[in-house]
């Protein structure tokens, strides 16, 4: 809650004229073409766009997983450009949470160990009460000693959510978190993410191509051909679908 209290003057993350070019010469592909974007603190933002629109690249560059060709990315007050691999790694560990589409958990660690993994890597301890509250809320109390292979897909994704939330990071990146889940479990997982924002002021950005998922967000940003192609605040699934259709899907 420290992050939210320290006055929300700064956005949780910012992209300034982010450009990413793959390849050179004739084969060069501009995945990102000068994207500028602010992700507000305490908001749930969805990023949508057709395949190849650059939404994943944008996520990766903003989360310090990939380096942009030009432009700047910020997490809170930290600019990512100047950081070396070790600093970026620490930043990811301490200030960013991740939820991926699949393969979210380390197979040899129990669910509980997976949740505390970032803290363990930092040699820090987790807030016990927060941990207990999270696992209770996610309904995985009796699953903590299980290995990922012994969990259902939905349970695995809930564990991943707990891992992302436990450190109260500045921002959680969720990359198609419901892509591999059936509709019931999708609803559950999206509900948790929504609650985290609403109840605890967590900032979340989610890449998705599912309008139903995007409808959980406070704001949907559309990308097309490496550029921002509009946004909708307080979206409904229908509005999102309409916008997507306009973008040529």
């Amino acid at each position: 809650m420290v992050a939210t209290q320290q006055a929300a003057t700064l956005p949780a993350a910012r992209a300034v004229e982010l450009t990413k070019v793959y390849g050179t010469g004739d084969a060069a592909v501009r995945a990102l073409d000068g994207v500028s974007l602010e992700l507000e603190r305490g908001h749930f933002t969805a990023v949508m766009g057709p395949s190849g629109s650059g939404k994943s690249t944008l996520m990766h560059c903003m989360a310090g997983l990939d380096r942009p060709t030009a432009g700047h990315a910020f997490i809170g007050e930290h600019e990512l450009d100047g950081l070396d691999d070790a600093d970026l790694t620490d930043l990811r560990r301490d200030r960013i949470g991740f939820v991926f589409q699949s393969f979210n958990l380390v197979p040899m660690l129990t669910a509980g160990e997976n949740i505390t993994l970032p803290a363990d890597l930092a040699g820090a301890s987790v807030e016990r009460e927060w941990f207990d509250a999270l696992v209770r809320q996610l309904g995985i109390v009796d699953r903590l000693e299980h290995r990922p292979s012994e969990l259902s897909g939905g349970q695995q994704q809930r564990v991943a959510c707990a891992r992302a939330l436990i450190g109260r990071p500045e921002l959680i990146f969720a990359d198609e978190p419901t892509g591999n889940l059936d509709s019931n479990t999708s609803t559950e997982v999206l509900g948790f993410l929504r609650d985290a924002v609403s109840e605890h002021g967590q900032s979340i950005v989610m890449v998705t191509h599912d309008p139903l998922a995007a409808a959980y967000a406070d704001r949907v940003v559309f990308l097309a051909d490496g550029s921002v192609a509009g946004e909708i605040r307080s979206p409904s699934a229908d509005a999102v679908l309409a916008q997507m259709k306009k973008l040529g899907r």
Partner: protein, 843 residues
């Protein structure tokens, strides 16, 4: 299908290179050994051939013993000398062009700095130099032949190495003292500067006879037939002149005998090296087995897809085995090329451990290539059979379902049964071998147990890795993850560690055996020798030494020791002889029955307790014996002493010995001094300064020298086994690389959620260390067991004490852990440098 095999190979170049490396090293070792063996054979064979190139016949005493004695080129110790007069008679026969009587014996040069010249394993040979005859194998390359009693010709190798020039004086140690001669000539042996590392001193014929106690006779007589003479008739004519006990044989026959003798000695060396080479290949086989198992696992979908599109099982089998065969072939060819270098390396290695071999151009036979390639390809293909069978059992449907490569599979029951049965058979063989002191059974048992242990290793892999990895938790999450990674596929961990286990197991076996030998040797010296000082030399030494020593003030007793061969019953045995007078104060024989000193003085035979019991001998038994010089006779057993390998099985008195051996040289003098004779060793050294070939040691020094020579041999074996350990490490590198490759996404995830590169490296290293420790601990345990079994089986061959060198064994384990750390270097770097994004995105 062939194209798929080739494409598959190329797609996995890195893995292929690592797998091949294991085979390359093994084949290098094998072909290096073969090349070295052939080279030595050819060299020494040529040398022997050149000696008898011009000799038509050799006249010599008949062999005294039925059993062949190991003999050098000039070794005639087991033959009676031939009377001088025969030479003159043979010379008068029609058809004889030339005759020369040869005489030889101990003659050791002293270098200008006063040290004795003794290069490696070579002998110090003195001989009668034949100035005119074409019969001589020696070629004068400078100066002139010796003509007076003060002249000597020396071999070119010694002259070159110690900068002797014509006209220089040179001190020579001889059986009866020493003299200074003038160098009148430099000789080569055939085309070689020396004779297989021996030093050569050529004297004028009658001088040589005098120096080597051969007045009036020769060791042998060489005959050169005139051109056009009928050799068959000539041989008959010569044999009619000969007294009984003397024979004439063709030069070719003698050359063949010597070549056989040389081959015999060399084949022991080659066989020993070959065994180590095969051990390396065997360990290499484990690496290959493991690699193919893992790659087949990783390619399950690919293989299944091939099945879907119509590849038959037979085709898949051929594809996998074809890949193995090609890998093996490529590796064998490289190994073959490197083998030539390895031959030079092996020679240098043996040289470093005191086994010097003559230098000659390397001999590369077609057989070497055939054997190396057959063995290399064979090991690779055989190791790939089980993985290949696994590959063909992949059902086509596996192409369509999500597949997890990293799931631990249960140990097949057949494997457990096979392991347990093999282990039990091994145990039974081992117990039978140990109790019956049967080395072969112990070897078979040990081998079976080693393989059984390798088969069953995966059963203990998880619990053992768990325990071994526990301390790594202090390195935080990476250590914990490394430990868990090592436990996640126990089969793989066990297989990887098995190769190292065999390597470390053999090293531990040798360590235990060596330590037992070492303590046994020390114990034997302690129990048998009560003398304060021991004077010894690598060969024999001058007969004047014992008297010189006993004249020193403070000396209370001296005992001269001689050694020779005689036939006891029907077998050739070593006979020791001692001066009875001082024996009681220098040697403790621990008599079990009969008397010591009086029996020796009376020329009786003392035998050790184990011989006495096996041959049912007791005091007063009369036994048939035979000596080379004096022929058959009998000896009476005068006493039985406690078995001590340092003394040997048979001892008699000096007087008796001198009467039955031709000019024997003492091999040692034991000296007892009155207590508190300060500075005695210095005085002894000064008094014996004229004999630089002598080693003068206190009993403690002698004891540590015995240990040192055992340790040197151990060192050589360690170096030879190091290759097997190295190949095992390559196996660890290989498995880790494959695991890292397999866990790309997992590592990507860990990096994404905040694992630093250093922590990734630490994780991979932890796993490597655990695998290495796993192999080392099992290896040390099994090796110690086998070592103790072997040592007890050898209890009749001088290993009287068992000893476990705990510090060495602990050092092996620690060293293995460090090597594991080293093996992880590359895989750890690869894992740490994985592109996070690519890793997450990879399927």
């Amino acid at each position: 299908m062939r194209r798929i095999t080739l494409r598959g190979l190329l797609a996995r170049k890195l893995r292929l290179a690592l797998t091949a490396l294991a085979i390359v090293l093994g084949v290098t070792f094998v072909s290096g050994t073969l090349v070295l063996g052939d080279t030595l054979n050819r060299t020494l064979g040529d040398l022997v051939g050149s000696v008898y190139q011009h000799v038509s016949f050799e006249i010599r005493g008949k062999a005294a013993f039925n059993e062949k004695t190991p003999q050098g080129v000039t070794g005639t110790a087991d033959r009676k000398p031939v009377p001088e007069s025969i030479a003159a008679e043979v010379r008068r026969l029609p058809g004889v062009a030339d005759v020369f009587g040869s005489v030889g014996g101990y003659a050791q040069f002293v270098a200008p700095d006063g040290s004795s010249i003794d290069d490696g394993a070579g002998k110090n040979l003195g001989f009668a130099y034949d100035p005119n005859s074409q019969l001589s194998p020696f070629r004068l390359v400078a100066g002139r032949a010796p003509t007076t009693a003060h002249d000597v010709v020396i071999d070119k190798a010694t002259a070159t190495k110690y900068h002797f020039a014509l006209g220089d004086p040179i001190r020579v140690l001889l059986p009866d003292g020493q003299s200074t001669f003038t160098i009148t000539g430099i000789v080569t042996f055939g085309d070689s500067n020396t004779l297989a590392g021996d030093t050569l001193a050529g004297f004028e014929q009658t001088t040589a006879q005098a120096l080597f106690n051969s007045r009036g006779h020769y060791d042998s007589i060489n005959v050169l037939a005139a051109p056009g003479a009928d050799n068959v008739q000539l041989q008959e004519a010569i044999s009619r002149l000969l007294p009984t006990g003397v024979e004439v044989v063709s030069g070719q026959a003698v050359a063949n005998e010597l070549t056989d003798a040389v081959d015999n000695e060399l084949s022991f060396l080659s066989t020993a090296l070959l065994i180590f080479a095969l051990i390396s290949l065997f360990v290499g086989g484990f690496t290959i087995f493991n690699t193919f198992t893992i790659t087949v696992g990783q390619r399950t979908r690919e293989l299944a897809l091939l099945r879907v599109v119509g590849a038959s099982r037979r085709q898949l089998m051929r594809s996998v085995l074809g890949e193995a065969a090609l890998t093996g072939l490529a590796a064998s060819l490289i190994g073959l090329g490197l083998g030539v270098l390895a031959a030079l390396g092996l020679k240098a290695l043996l040289g470093a451990f005191g086994i010097s071999l003559p230098s000659a151009p390397l001999v590369f036979q077609a057989r070497t290539a055939i054997v190396a390639i057959a063995v290399g390809v064979g090991v690779t293909v055989v190791s790939a059979i089980v993985p290949a069978r696994r590959a063909v059992r992949v059902p086509p449907v596996a192409a369509l379902v999500e597949h997890s490569e990293d799931q631990p599979a249960a140990t097949p029951r057949r494997r457990i049964v096979a392991g347990v049965v093999l282990g039990l058979v091994g145990l039974v063989a081992l117990i039978a071998g140990v109790s019956g002191a049967n080395l072969t059974l112990v070897g078979v048992g040990s081998g079976a147990m080693l393989v059984a242990r390798a088969l069953l290793a995966r059963l203990v892999a998880r619990p053992l890795a768990d325990v071994l990895g526990r301390p790594l938790r202090m390195f935080g999450t990476p250590g914990k993850l490394g430990r868990q990674n090592s436990m996640r596929n126990p089969g793989r961990t066990a297989q990887t560690a098995a190769a190292l286990m065999i390597g470390i197991g053999l090293v531990s076996t040798i360590a235990v055996l060596g330590a037992s030998l070492s303590t046994s040797a020390a114990d034997q010296v302690d129990s048998a020798v009560t003398a304060d000082y021991l004077v010894t030399s690598s060969g024999g030494f001058s007969r004047s030494v014992p008297a010189t020593v006993s004249g020193l003030p403070g000396v209370t007793a001296t005992t001269a020791v001689y050694r020779g061969q005689f036939e006891f019953g029907n077998s050739l045995s070593s006979l020791a002889a001692v001066t009875p007078a001082g024996l009681a104060r220098t040697v403790n024989l621990h008599m079990v029955d009969g008397s010591g000193t009086p029996a020796l003085a009376a020329g009786r035979l003392l035998v050790d307790a184990s011989t006495a019991s096996s041959d049912h001998l007791h005091v007063g038994s009369v036994v048939p014996v035979r000596f080379a010089q004096t022929g058959a006779g009998t000896m009476t057993v005068g006493g039985i002493y406690k078995t001590n390998p340092l003394i040997g099985s048979f001892v008699t008195g000096e007087q008796f010995f001198l009467a039955h051996f031709d000019t024997p040289l003492p091999s040692g003098v034991l000296v007892k001094v009155t207590r508190g004779t300060p500075g005695f060793q210095a005085r002894l050294n000064r008094r014996l300064a004229a004999y630089p070939n002598l080693t003068i040691q206190t009993r403690a020094q002698f004891e540590s020298q015995q240990k040192a020579s055992i340790n040197q041999l151990l060192g050589l074996i360690y170096v030879l086994l190091a290759l097997a350990v190295m190949i095992a490490l390559i196996g660890i590198v290989n498995t880790l690389m494959l695991s890292v490759f397999e866990r790309t996404r997992e590592i990507g995830l860990l990096r994404a959620v905040g694992m630093r590169r250093g922590q990734v490296r630490a994780m991979v290293r932890s796993e490597s260390v655990i695998v290495a420790l796993f192999g080392a601990v099992l290896g040390v345990v099994v090796g110690t067991g086998i070592g103790l079994a072997l040592a007890s089986a050898l209890r009749n061959n001088g290993v009287t004490n068992l000893s476990v060198p705990v510090p060495s064994l602990i050092a092996f384990v620690i060293l293995s852990a460090l090597l594991g750390l080293l093996a992880a270097t590359w895989p750890a770097r690869r894992a740490a440098n994985l592109d996070v994004l690519a890793a997450i995105a990879s399927q």
